[in-house]
Symmetry: C2
Subunit: 666 residues, 2 copies
Amino acid sequence: MKSLSWKKWITVLAAISTVLFLVMCGGNQSQNGGVAGGEDLQSIAEARGLTPADLVAAAKTYMPTGKHDDYFMFASGGHSGQVLVIGMPSMRLLKVIGVFTPEPWQGWGYSNETREIMQGGNVDGKALHWGDTHHPALSETDGDYDGQFCFINDKANARIAVIDLRDFETKQIVKNPLSLSDHGGSMVTPNTEYIIEGGQYAMPWSGKYASLKDYKEKYRGMVTFWKFDRKKGRIDESKSFALELPPYWQDLADAGKLVSDGWVFLNSFNTEMSTGGVEEGNPPFEAGASQRDMDYLHVINLKKAVKVFEAGKVSKINGFNVISLKTSVAEGLLHFVPEPKSPHGVDVTPDGNFLVISGKLDPHVTIFNFNKIKSAIENKTFSGKDDYGVPILDYDTVLETQIEVGLGPLHTQFDQNGFAYTSLFLESAVARWTLGGDFTKKHGKEGWTLIDKISVHYNVGHIAVAEGDNVNPDGKYLVSLNKWAVDRFGNVGPLLPQNFQLIDISNPDGNMQLLYDMPIGIGEPHYAQIIKADKIKSWEVYPEIGWNPGTQSKDPNGIRPGEEKVVRRGNKVEIWMSAVRSHYNPERVEVRKGDHVIWHITNVERAKDATHGFALPGFDFNLSLEPGETQTIEFVADREGVYPFYCTEFCSALHLEMAGYFLIKP
Amino acid sequence: MKSLSWKKWITVLAAISTVLFLVMCGGNQSQNGGVAGGEDLQSIAEARGLTPADLVAAAKTYMPTGKHDDYFMFASGGHSGQVLVIGMPSMRLLKVIGVFTPEPWQGWGYSNETREIMQGGNVDGKALHWGDTHHPALSETDGDYDGQFCFINDKANARIAVIDLRDFETKQIVKNPLSLSDHGGSMVTPNTEYIIEGGQYAMPWSGKYASLKDYKEKYRGMVTFWKFDRKKGRIDESKSFALELPPYWQDLADAGKLVSDGWVFLNSFNTEMSTGGVEEGNPPFEAGASQRDMDYLHVINLKKAVKVFEAGKVSKINGFNVISLKTSVAEGLLHFVPEPKSPHGVDVTPDGNFLVISGKLDPHVTIFNFNKIKSAIENKTFSGKDDYGVPILDYDTVLETQIEVGLGPLHTQFDQNGFAYTSLFLESAVARWTLGGDFTKKHGKEGWTLIDKISVHYNVGHIAVAEGDNVNPDGKYLVSLNKWAVDRFGNVGPLLPQNFQLIDISNPDGNMQLLYDMPIGIGEPHYAQIIKADKIKSWEVYPEIGWNPGTQSKDPNGIRPGEEKVVRRGNKVEIWMSAVRSHYNPERVEVRKGDHVIWHITNVERAKDATHGFALPGFDFNLSLEPGETQTIEFVADREGVYPFYCTEFCSALHLEMAGYFLIKP
């Protein structure tokens, strides 16, 4: 097919095109090191088997040296425990941010400060060394990304981390006191007042053992609202609270926006309350949790819940503020809407008017109308209650419409042209369909209509449109986060990369166009958000020499050149060291076996990119000291020997000489 | 400049080109999801500010969906502790291989087997959780890469790891018993008989404390030759040995090939034996180690050394076989050649005839002639001896020539057209120059002559030419491993990515052409090797169900479907579990607090890409189970509670339901 497509035109246009391409594209000089004379796009394309569409895709994604990408994508790393930062449209990995897993290139988890931050996520006092990051959430102002923070959940242990985008480093990790499972995080409210963390696999509400026989009585779901203090850049646990929920398996959440601001929507599966047990002849969870036709969309009045919390109508569970299910029902904080079974996402349209849900075993997207929901709640248009007394809104009353989009619909995002995009896992495709409401008038197209689809490779989970889940989508691009790659990349063994596919969605009247395949061989991303690059205003170097990134303020142990010293007090030896191209000061440090060593190191450089490392062999320490940064390590010199420390960054031509000896006398 | 270049031609050719491009490149259908009608390269290029040279570069590097890269690059990850696998020419990161740092996406370091492999690298019994990988070495047959194994050193703790390219996983880590520092690893001999590991910062030879005052007497350098058992895929420590060396700081090594097969070359710096001490008014190492004009290239007769070792002329140091410096001198195993000071690499030409060395403070590359070295040794043409009695060959006798290439020359690689390429750190450029000897005849160009340079951005360390350090270079591409990126990429905070630049060197009569900038935001690579993709024959799934990747054989605890069971013996509970789309069996596991749990999990899938994960919340375990794989975790159930385990891979539409409950009764 590809060679035919070429041949057809080439035969006719060969002579003229060769000349033209040579002239246009084969100039014998350029800023890029010189193009060899006589090179032309046609012969390169033929040699490499590129179609005309491939050349267009190449031109749309190629980023020449020194040019910067238009967007940053923040993708979760899945069970790598990290967050990936990717430039778009070039789809180049710009950084992996250490979050739940120690990462020595960044020194993340190898210094006092970074270990302390990680220990905020300890479970029962036990330090953890990985996480399962799922859904990054960029901070928002008025429902629009503001480029200040990124939040990320750890599904495996129910934790939330805060990343400061001034330096792209993790500043805080909090452990949910109620659950070990939080697939439904993290999402933010339109002004980042709260970070939403929904649970997944229900747990005994006590936090202790409870038999699965007592599942219905003793297991519970939850959703937690973490209060974010933007000025401090930290979650304020004391102002945070949770809602007790029935032991369904809650899934993803979304915050209302504009008309639905103040509300939170959270869907669920396993409302069957199956407890598995395939080994005993029970249906496995995959069947047991898929028996009923409908599960429940949870509609939560957050604004009202905050008032209930502030009125003190909470109990403490594991020391945490919890609004009981009974109180939620009594105060009208929680209502259910029947939703096609086992949905995998609820997505609020940019105008806040509609909620899009996809039951993953149903070929439709189901659209609920927020105003109808609000009215149904006000008018108590209930079709019944669940076993826990939660009122169920009448499905037909709140339904806007359904659209058949294809097999295995999962997640929906939006653009600025009134389109919605839904991932189709089973069909390996992305469907594009029109929003109703205002869209019909604005764009002269029929609303609530499937327009077209594009194949992806393969098995897409989430999709991300540029700014496609906030109030002002910027949908030039869509990224399909495919879970399987199969044949897309060269064989690198039985563990395959995933495949991020970049799709051009900029032409509302044309087709979607596949531009680029990006292998992901460093984690298993679930969701991503894409922000315009010019919204990120990060630091190039730390504001002052002696900066502590953990506190984002001056470190009392930061020093300037000339202030280096080693002080012994009893068996405590404290070192204040500087690092500069290309030596440490001091270069020799001698202690006695058994000494307690506290070692502060400050990079006194002010030049951008002048990072120094600090490796201490045999003691499992490596630091990454960005210009101005101070870090501290602390340990007992528990054996005699000589340990050559050195700078792990290639900081100058003499970087190999940036070393010293740490000696432990017997 | 760029817009001028466009305007110049566009003005003249506007009308015809628009039509032509539309026809050629804007066809309204393609396999890639359809090109919207009316798109043309010219308008895309103008909109994106691409020059004609940029379009050529885009066409040369773009990889359409489903097409596989022509080369794999294996790059060290520096202090990330890992190895990066990159497809070329697309420069896409295909995989990060966990080596010295635990990596949960791969389950690396989170299971019994993988922890045991990591513990092979313990220092004084202490487990380490990072490394500083520097120089990957692909296994060779007859001096050519054979695609079977990759070796990598940890400079920070003097360790070597073995990666099996059947599954791209680490199989062995060995700790050097003599040193904590091994910058001079890893390199292989032409049939991978030995893996070379040279030390760097000299250490007390005792392994114990010794004052820096006794540096000359008590500190020593070393080079270790690890015997590789290709059949077992493991290093055989008992057949390995080291050479004691003077306490200079040895640097990189290279093995001889063809005529120089059986020899090893190793350079050094700090032959001044400076011990630093800037804090006491001494010159810092960067100055102290740069005082003499010449350091010493170490010329080692490995073939002879093996005979000396096999004859038992070794002593045991820390239980390891060591040939003493005295024996080396007496047996003629070691000679020195003066080399311009502080060199950073020795590189043997593809024909084995010449050694290229760059003193990094000297603008020349210095080329020694192996045959002259051999003759000088035979004829004892010495200019003296060093303080340790090692004979120094006469510099002028063994020198072939010097070529002025530019500022801060570091490393040299070769292509098949008789060119050598040298990185210039201070000049931020790569120099291309001609080899002498046979080259002059073969290519009709003058030998030993600088041809041209290309700028890079910025501060290149190593370079890698495709197969450019073996006997058959395949130099279509060169990658410049730049240590600084500065302004090349969007700002992601004070810690910047490095920059890999892809350079087209395929035209021996034209210029080198910069094709692509790849940011590296996941480590700090030092060196890379590039191998033709078709040489890698990796497995798509494990050979049998119940496979143990650690041993590359069937695991006695691997099971087939139907063999699942839970067995209690006293307080020991052992579980044999299967994983298949989309459930575990068993789904419920209940133990008592204090039980010792041994949990074997087998992925019983046979489909490519059908990986399952296994996360156990609160207990810091995550496994990655490729099709057929068995892994084991073991722990004490030290607290009561309920822990929902689940599959961390998005393995099917019902992956969220692939879960179960692990209950610990009080």
